[in-house]
Symmetry: C2
Amino acid sequence: MVLVKIGGGDAINLDGIAADIAALPGPVVVVHGANAIRDRLAADLGWEKRVVTSVSGYSSVYSDERAIDLLLMAYAGLRNKRLVERLLCHGRNAVGLTGLDGRLVSARRNTGIRVRQGDKTLLLRDLSGKPHAVNLPLMRLLLDNGYTPVLTVPLADEQGCAVNSENDEVVALLQAALNAEQVIELIEAPGLLLDPSDPSSVARSLDATDLKRLEERAEGRFKRKLLALGRLFDTTAPTVVMADGRTARPVADALAGAGTTITKRGAGR
Amino acid sequence: MVLVKIGGGDAINLDGIAADIAALPGPVVVVHGANAIRDRLAADLGWEKRVVTSVSGYSSVYSDERAIDLLLMAYAGLRNKRLVERLLCHGRNAVGLTGLDGRLVSARRNTGIRVRQGDKTLLLRDLSGKPHAVNLPLMRLLLDNGYTPVLTVPLADEQGCAVNSENDEVVALLQAALNAEQVIELIEAPGLLLDPSDPSSVARSLDATDLKRLEERAEGRFKRKLLALGRLFDTTAPTVVMADGRTARPVADALAGAGTTITKRGAGR
């Protein structure tokens, strides 16, 4: 089984990826983002992001109903179905789903962010959560009958409500549940950059333990990305390739050794 | 089996419908529209409808790539997943799908509209089609495993491309494939109005043959609606109820005899 994560940037070559996935012989599960479409749609609609600052000084995006509406339009609607369409056209019978559908991926709702309002501290809960369970029978039902699941946010919280979540964490949860031999992450960079400001600093090959060291030096979203990558090796030992999603044949290139290959030492692969 | 068609108006009570569907004991298939959301989104984004006039003087909306993008955002994204969410919250394990997903509903692409351009007649093909086949094994797979399919446009054409279609025609195709005993159509009116301009002209009970007579007098979208209603009786003999989707308990009301009940004489139900 191959688990393919497709980044949500505009330069990602969806059709090339779909052609490559269609040509793979075995089962594939796809997870994708859509942040570029989401951000553009928000700008076009004049829907501003609400950013809140916690008492500890940490800023984060507040996922309100409108943020979920945007996810539904950009991720679940436009990007998901365009990807399904590309896969169908290349001969792969894809089924596009969010975590909500059949509770395919459930989340635990986040407890909230402590914010200051006047002289009071309030706990502000938004519509976000951490992925915590995969509906494996539904996943198996689709895979065993020849369908290729194409997944994206939102997820379903304990009550069944839509919540936002990090797609990287969804991928880590799926890896633990499905134990894919290959995880391919297609991004808008030639691979994992040792220096994020230098496109020529692509790591060719890393051991899972290297991720921890890189993470200590990293900041912001890149730190979070490394943390999620590290989690892929928590219970399983896949071959993880981070490769360029902008080339003519992104998946074929990744399988041929392009980008960064991460393995777990002594895992025998 | 109950087939529920939910209109795409803003006044439709989605949560009440979801609560009612969740309370039904047997299998349910849902088809829904989202025209109000689509039209508002198009207006907010400044995406104008392209209307073309055929050589025979008939005007129709031209479904271009942007029209499909709007469908994907409004129908497949926002409305479909919000409905799935409401169903989950009420305890029904719903799976939201378009015709694209697993080629659940395939369409034959329309041949095109003959238009005049200068002194030439051109055949203008858009991204629209007629539903012609249901992926019954996938539908059965979901139903037999306790899932409630929630369907909407677009459909998949012969190549797997997204095409627009009439939801009423999708319902007629599904009825032929699934042979549901009950078809419930929830609209923004108290039932089928014998005079569309008079809300008090609700027909209480009609025979399928009455639809033909009404159709002869009707015009525009209402004529098309009656034609699609008539098709529900082509190969099967369901009880069709057209009822108000704006009440507190729309499905319960419909099953209790609200709105218009249409049956086929001599069908023994």
